[in-house]
Symmetry: C2
DNA sequence: ATTTTACGTCAGCCATGTTGACTTATATGC
DNA sequence: GCATATAAGTCAACATGGCTGACGTAAAAT
């Protein structure tokens, strides 16, 4: 690593440095992720704003919808935010009747979270554009590309525990 | 669309609804994007915080680095934020000596932006983890998967103008 | 000469993250 | 049974990075 010296922008006078190409390729991927995420969230954000909500509310709705009965601390582990931040969002969703809590049976300290019917409806409305966008991208790219897309994103995701989410078909039961 | 009625969570008593599988697949993609983005930004955010900067600063550094001589309004078009928001970030980067402005020659109202040497160094430091993460994911997934990854992300990105960024090899000259 | 464009700036608002301190109820381990 | 640990909630204060709206200046375009 220390013996490779790149010129300021990687291109030497006598041709193109292969490490420069590599860097370009990696930065292109960074941009693809940025643009995709930017466009992926634009529409949902606009719809959420009409309800006085934000992106954080959507994330909660989504994961509660996919894992009915999820506990607060499990949700915290997924979102990687503080409980104070989550509580604000969760409180608003409960107050407006999109999320319900019930006490855990095995452990009565837990609050098991679930979407109400209204919560399901809202989540569907908010995510409609995202699902359509992915459906379109998948359709255009083909099954093989979809496999590659999954593989690479999985490689970007950090730890084993999170990756495990994508190994089994259904949500974890409680 | 109106004639297809899904049971609450898509699974009927007599087998699995193919539309449910489809929905699961799309939601899985949503989650992959979320987790990848979450983990992709965690390390850079930590480094930036040590410098008193945030994610917004990194985005500016990145795009200025890739498009030396970019104008303020071009950068605004890429980031899709307001000029007031960009100005705050840009002002801090200039003040601390990571970004330089010079007056446009063709149009003297323009401020052409470029990284200083310190700016380049900082950007490299901040993006090192991201590049390593992508390099690892690319290596593990293989060339074919990388092609698929690009194809699908490109399909998710909204408009023709933005996609054009990924069609040519080099940054646009000015 | 007028209008439009590129950029900058001031002021204030909101969403969403943070830290730190503290409380309550319940489980768990000795 | 008591001590400790855990799940969740709460209050307060703060930072970042978006936003709107209003206004200013210089230069280009018509």
């Amino acid at each position: 690593m220390a013996d490779v010296k790149l010129p300021p922008h990687g291109a030497s006078k006598h041709g193109i440095n292969p490490l420069f190409l590599r860097d370009q390729e990696l930065r292109q991927a960074m941009e693809l992720l940025f643009f995709a995420y930017r466009d992926f969230t634009a529409e949902p954000d606009a719809i959420l704003a009409q309800h006085g909500f934000g992106r954080a509310h959507h994330r909660a709705l989504h994961f509660i919808g996919r894992h009915p009965g999820i506990t607060v601390s499990e949700l915290l582990g997924i979102l990687r935010i503080t409980k104070q931040s989550l509580n604000r969002v969760l409180g608003q969703l409960i107050e407006k009747g999109y999320v319900e809590q019930r006490q855990g049976t095995r452990d009565r300290r837990q609050r098991l979270l679930a979407l109400t019917a209204a919560g399901h409806t809202l989540e569907e409305r908010v995510s409609a554009d995202q699902r359509a966008r992915i459906a379109k991208a998948y359709r255009e790219a083909g099954a093989e590309a979809v496999e590659g897309f999954r593989k690479v994103l999985l490689g970007i995701i950090a730890g084993a525990p999170d990756r495990a989410r994508f190994e089994r078909p259904g949500p974890p039961r409680r």
